[in-house]
Amino acid sequence: MMTPTLSELRKTATVRLAPEEAFELFTDHMAAWWPLATHSVGLEKATGVEFEPGVGGQIVETSLGGSTSIWGTVEVWEPPARLGFTWHPGTPVEEATRVEVRFHATGSGTTVELIHTGWDARPDGVEARAQYDPGWDFVFGRYAEAGDGGLTT
């Protein structure tokens, strides 16, 4: 049976920074590098994004006029190796997906591996997925729509 699933998506980046620095740049300084104008809820109206540190911290976008959008909530905070957060820009929290970011030290820097998973990691497996929430792991809603223009850099 053909089963077109969106299995986990992995992307990597390599930076000439120590893992500690790469982790800090990714989180504390997210606003400095995130392509907000094309990859946000507010697009050109987006003015910033803040990554609140620690488990339970939120990733919050701010827009002109003071409105905010929560992109997700931190679930794993293990500097400098691992970071995990829910991901639901522009959609309700119950439709969240999951992103994990791992920082591996290499010879001259750090490899940053981003994993967007396809399913909620439920211990009770397939049945739970079918009954509760299939948890398709996409970037949803307006955020996604927004990205249509942002595919080419």
Partner: protein, 102 residues
Amino acid sequence: MLEALADSTRRNIVSRLSTGPATVGELATTVPVSRPAVSQHLKVLLEAGLVSYRPRGTQNVYRLEPAGFEALREWLDGFWQDVLDAFETYADRHIEVRKEQR
């Protein structure tokens, strides 16, 4: 296309169809919404290119459309590629600035 999946009922329908083709009536027994609501959700999925249908007797049998999912995956891939490219670019600049300051 992503908008189509920003709804838990539609994701449930997709989940059900991933196990095999089904009619509206069959789908209505697996999701907690009425048949007209299922039809409405299917319309959105059809327009997004994520499902297709073939007539069988008086009913339509719906199935997932692999090409639609491939496009979705490509979109996501591009999204994260852009984000990580921006991160790399900034990190490189960050290092150059730091070198100059030394």
